[in-house]
């Protein structure tokens, strides 16, 4: 277990907490890549997801394409794109975007779809335009699942941004690869621990956001949401919609 104590020593060493290769800077880099990827992925997935969820068109195609995308190993896409585009921010962000689009897209259209058709019909009957139905009824009510999609995408990207350090990117993956190069095991483990903590923190934040969205969407069920907040997926809901 000396490895664990070595890692603790590495983490508690003040020298690792300052400067460009320090933990705070690496965390910022890591979060920077993550948010940039999410913005790009959301720009693609959110409009598409809203369209598919609202109209029900291209649903089968979307499921097929996202399923196929999921089978693509990110490491392969990353190395391939880096050789094609050269070293820089482009290839890693693109590879991570490929990873983030499927959960985002699925979250958005499943969210919109999960809204009770009777509620949507009632909104139409009251004279809402399609745009109003979408923005005032479907999005607010489907928000818990949409946030769930963002939660899944964020976690995948945070985890995989580690791998992106393999193609000379910064971020927390650096500790793992730099440590490996010089056989500095404490550094590798220490870096890994930081990634795990970051992932858990982000997941916690999203859990809170999801619970808040759930309370807003279904205020009458406030009492039950507290217990189900550790359970991010109202699975049956999204799967049983025909």
């Amino acid at each position: 277990m000396s490895v664990v104590s070595d890692a603790v020593d590495w983490l508690s060493d003040g020298a690792h907490w300052t400067g460009q290769t320090g933990i705070p800077n690496r965390v910022l880099e890591h979060l920077g890549y993550t948010s940039l990827t999410l913005v790009v992925a959301a720009a693609v997935a959110v409009p598409l997801g809203l369209y598919i969820g609202h109209t029900g068109r291209f649903r089968g195609l979307a499921i097929g394409v996202t399923g196929a995308l999921r089978a693509l190993p990110t490491l392969g896409v990353l190395t391939l794109l880096t050789l094609l585009l050269g070293i820089g921010l482009g290839a890693p962000i693109l590879a991570l975007t490929v990873l983030a689009v499927p959960p985002l897209l699925a979250g958005v259209y499943a969210g919109v779809e999960s809204v009770d058709p009777q509620t949507v019909d009632a909104a139409r009957a009251q004279g809402m335009t399609e745009w109003q139905v979408l923005t005032r009824v479907e999005v607010p009510l489907g928000l818990p699942l949409v946030v769930g999609g963002f939660r899944a995408a964020t976690l995948q990207v945070v985890a995989t941004a580690t791998v992106a350090a393999y193609v000379s990117l910064g971020g927390l993956g650096r500790y793992i690869f730099d440590g490996q190069a010089v056989r500095d095991y404490p550094q590798m483990v220490g870096g890994s621990v930081v990634v795990v903590v970051l992932a858990l923190l982000l997941d916690g934040l999203f859990a809170v956001a999801q619970a808040a969205a759930e309370r807003r969407a279904r205020p009458s069920r406030r009492a039950t949401t507290a217990s189900s907040s550790t359970d991010p997926t109202p699975t049956s809901q999204s799967t049983t919609t025909p």
């Binding site: 490895v3 190993p73 190395t79 391939l80 050789l83 976690l155 483990v189 550790t230 359970d231 991010p232």
Partner: protein
């Protein structure tokens, strides 16, 4: 593709390595997740905790887990066992949720009638609950299968050889073809395993006609179709 043919022995060997590194965690994950999921479905209070633990485990990035496992379980740093254990952990983490859902979906009336016709609780578990939960379990296994096949390749970064080695090697040598061969190999392996799982499902659950029809054509069925959607809202990584 000439390159792949010339190096077919090496590529094939990596393919088999990749296959067993994917299949072993899948089997271990299934064998562990089914009883845990069953237990969670019977004890609603524990359900939240068990599923919560699953989500937390699934949050741990694979590369980080591959690196930290040797220190925790005392294996060698390059031991393929690290990859097998890490992927089994993920497999259990994802499958427990599906398994719990699968068992919860079995109608209580059916269980009561099984009891009324004199089934012991054990007979009821294996003869009624398990088969009826089967289709949902299968869908869960298919989701895990795809993600496991993809995650095995990350092991190449710490020196555990698989088709992912073609990525690291191709990257170092600046050789696109090798990477493309690795990508194709992994997608093919994912498709083959998925087809085998579907086939196994048909053989074991011949009564499940309706859900088969609902899964639609081949390209729509791939990667678990409808259940894949629900798995996405699960926290996680690839």
């Amino acid at each position: 593709m000439e390159w792949a043919w010339r190096n077919r022995d090496q590529v094939l060997e990596l393919f088999w390595q990749h296959t067993w590194l994917s299949v072993v965690p899948l089997v271990i994950g299934f064998l562990l997740a089914v009883p845990i999921g069953w237990y969670a479905s019977r004890h609603p209070r524990l359900r939240g905790t068990l599923l919560g633990v699953g989500s937390v485990l699934y949050t741990i990035p694979s590369l980080a887990l591959f690196v930290t496992l040797p220190g925790i379980i005392g294996t060698g740093f390059l031991d393929p066992l690290n990859v097998v254990v890490a992927l089994s952990v993920y497999a259990v983490a994802i499958m427990v949720r599906t398994a719990a859902d699968a068992f919860t979906s079995v109608s209580p009336a059916v269980l009561d009638s099984a009891t009324a016709t004199g089934y012991s609780s054990r007979q009821r578990g294996f003869g009624v609950e398990l088969p009826l939960a089967g289709p949902v379990l299968l869908a869960g296994v298919r989701v895990v299968s795809v993600s496991t096949v993809s995650l095995v390749s990350v092991g190449a970064l710490i020196g555990v050889s698989s088709l992912g080695s073609l990525f690291t090697n191709g990257y170092r040598r600046d050789f696109l073809t090798e990477i493309v061969v690795g990508l194709v190999g992994i997608v093919v392996l994912a498709l083959v395993l998925d087809a085998l799982l579907v086939l196994a499902g048909r053989l074991l659950m011949p009564w499940d006609r309706q859900s088969r029809r609902a899964q639609g054509p081949f390209w729509r069925r791939f990667a678990g179709g409808r259940v894949a959607e629900s798995a996405v809202t699960l926290g996680g990584e690839a």
